[in-house]
């Protein structure tokens, strides 16, 4: 038995270490490359930046209007977060408290946004945005992204609202709260982890949005981080170390946010998708 226990531990730790190595190496490689001085055109590649060039991280702000891009990303992310949460909180509450077949079916209808490839909507969005003068505006990107974010937020929040006992809102109602009042004052605070999860998801989706932004935003100072990054990558003389530093900076915000809210996020996503 002890021999088996040792073998089991070796297997477990070996497996975990190997998985972490495979998954973590690309991230390490980005960080290490971002700190390499010069063009990175050396073979064999240097696996550890012996003379870290911290100036790479200041330099990237002068090569490209990166500060602008980050500010724009922040706007789109915050905008998507607010719109998606505001819309889905109400709908999710309705779905959670009135579980009739039509309501559930409506909830599934909302999921269409999750099911279809974004390119399918590019042409109509382009036509509609052109007539509404939303092309080349950040608000247009917020509108497009919100549509694809609401469905998952909705189902996430519904899962959390289901966990809040109905007796709570009924008590609030008898105490003279309106329906909305009981949602805001009683149910929302009780389901706060769900709101955090939905908000994080909305923010991350907005921050990571690339597709619509790359088609609809033409002015360089209106670009978001993801569009700037890909355009920079496409340049003929790309400086890989600066590119990696840019990728690092752009990844930092959602990565940190995710690590801080990981528990809520993961519970939220599985609750939304697995339970009805």
């Amino acid at each position: 038995m002890p021999a088996w226990g040792v073998a089991r531990s070796v297997l477990l730790y070996g497996g975990v270490a190997l998985a972490c190595l495979v998954v973590g190496f690309p991230i390490y490689w980005m960080a290490a490359s971002a700190l390499e001085p010069g063009s990175l055109f050396n073979f064999p590649p240097s696996f550890f930046p012996l003379q870290p060039a911290w100036s790479n991280f200041t330099q990237i702000f002068t090569i490209n209007p990166l500060a602008h891009w980050l500010a724009n990303s922040l706007f789109v992310a915050a905008g998507t977060m607010v719109c998606a949460v505001a819309l889905s909180v109400h709908a999710a509450y309705g779905m959670s408290r009135l579980r009739t077949r039509p309501v559930v079916a409506l909830g599934f209808l909302m999921l269409i946004g999750q099911m279809i490839p974004v390119t399918v909507l590019t042409i109509p969005f382009y036509i509609v945005f052109r007539s509404l003068h939303l092309l080349d505006t950040l608000s247009g990107i917020v509108i497009a992204t919100t549509t694809f974010t609401v469905p998952l937020c909705l189902w996430m929040l519904k899962g959390f609202f289901d966990g809040v006992p109905r007796e709570l809102d009924e008590a609030a109602l008898t105490d003279g709260c309106t329906r909305l009042g009981s949602l805001y004052r009683v149910v929302l605070p009780a389901a706060l982890p769900g709101v955090v999860a939905a908000a994080t998801f909305g923010f991350m989706t907005g921050w990571n949005e690339f597709f619509f932004a790359s088609i609809f935003l033409s002015t360089e100072t209106k670009w978001v981080g993801t569009v700037g990054l890909v355009t920079y990558m496409g340049q003929y003389f790309v400086q890989w170390s600066a590119l990696m530093a840019t990728a690092f900076v752009i990844s930092l915000v959602p990565a940190v946010l995710f690590l801080r809210t990981q528990r809520y996020m993961m519970a939220g996503i599985t609750q939304g998708a697995v339970k009805t």
Partner: protein, 288 residues
């Protein structure tokens, strides 16, 4: 009644931003439209669809889509299951391992693209160097992104790396929902690790597994950002999936009519799978 009122803003939003565009797509697909700027395009029935079925680009895209989808399903589900099984055990450093293993999904997809393009770079890439040093490759310069046969693998590496954490999360939740009593009973019966997995974990995962596979199916069909940023469908159409072809038809070839017909086909496929998903979820959890 009140619930309907609460849902109204979301439903109206979705109707405007989702259903109306879909209606435009359907209309465009039966008209002879170039760039979408002509105010009175002529009605041509199903000609756009007929042209697609005789189009080698279309069939090539169908093949690539199937290959990419299978690759992503196998890769993301397989690695997700492996990591979920590892993470269900208690061990020192588990929280850190979990954070590392889930982190790729938190990064922007375009960052994943940039990282993998650099890793797989032909002359100076770390992947080629490592493969060459451990004698898995005879040459230190594998042209991952310029060789049509390899490009799909390159795109799949980046996609699976970015996407599998979602599978891990789903499957972990699934594993946790399997009753501990079942494991204890299996232990008493003297089942080994494989038998426990085969007869307790795997059957217990069924509802989560089905939903996850369907979600991965949607996400594979709809994957655009990674493919577009990494290869834009090339080289020589080797990574051009249907979703990418819709885009190039419209915005590179400026054939809005043909692109709309293609979009309608993709839409029909997605919605059929969606209906399947709906029935599946409805069957697992009765509505009260």
């Amino acid at each position: 009644m009140f619930a309907i009122l609460l849902m109204a803003p979301t439903v109206v939003w979705t109707l405007i931003v989702l259903v109306y565009p879909i209606a435009i797509t359907l209309r465009n697909s039966v008209h002879n439209i170039g760039t979408g700027f002509d105010p009175h395009p002529s009605f041509i029935g199903l000609a756009n669809y007929a042209a697609l079925f005789q189009d080698s680009d279309f069939w090539q895209a169908v093949r690539v889509t199937v290959e990419f989808t299978v690759g992503n399903l196998v890769g993301s589900f397989g690695f997700g299951l492996l990591t979920a099984l590892l993470l269900q055990h208690r061990f020192w450093g588990r929280a850190a391992a979990r954070a590392i293993l889930l982190l790729p999904w938190a990064m922007p997809q375009v960052a994943a693209v940039v990282i993998w393009k650099w890793l797989l770079q032909t002359q100076y890439g770390a992947a080629n160097y490592i493969l060459w040093r451990v004698h898995l490759s005879a040459t230190p310069n594998i042209p991952w992104l310029s060789q049509p046969k390899l490009a799909l693998y390159a795109v799949l590496f980046a996609t699976v790396w970015w996407q599998y954490p979602i599978a891990t999360t789903f499957l972990q939740a699934g594993i946790q929902s399997v009753s501990l009593d079942l494991y204890e009973a299996a232990g008493i019966d003297g089942a080994n690790a494989w038998q426990r997995f085969r007869h307790v974990t795997w059957p217990g995962l069924e509802p989560v597994r089905n939903i996850l596979l369907l979600m991965l199916l949607f996400w594979s069909l709809g994957q655009v950002i990674i493919i577009w940023a990494m290869t834009a469908g090339g080289p020589a159409r080797a990574t051009q999936t249907l979703a990418i072809l819709v885009y190039t038809r419209a915005f590179s070839d400026f054939q809005f009519g043909s692109a709309s017909a293609l979009a309608t086909i993709v839409l029909a496929v997605s919605l059929t799978i969606g209906l399947l998903y709906y029935r599946l979820v409805m069957r697992t959890e009765p509505v009260g």
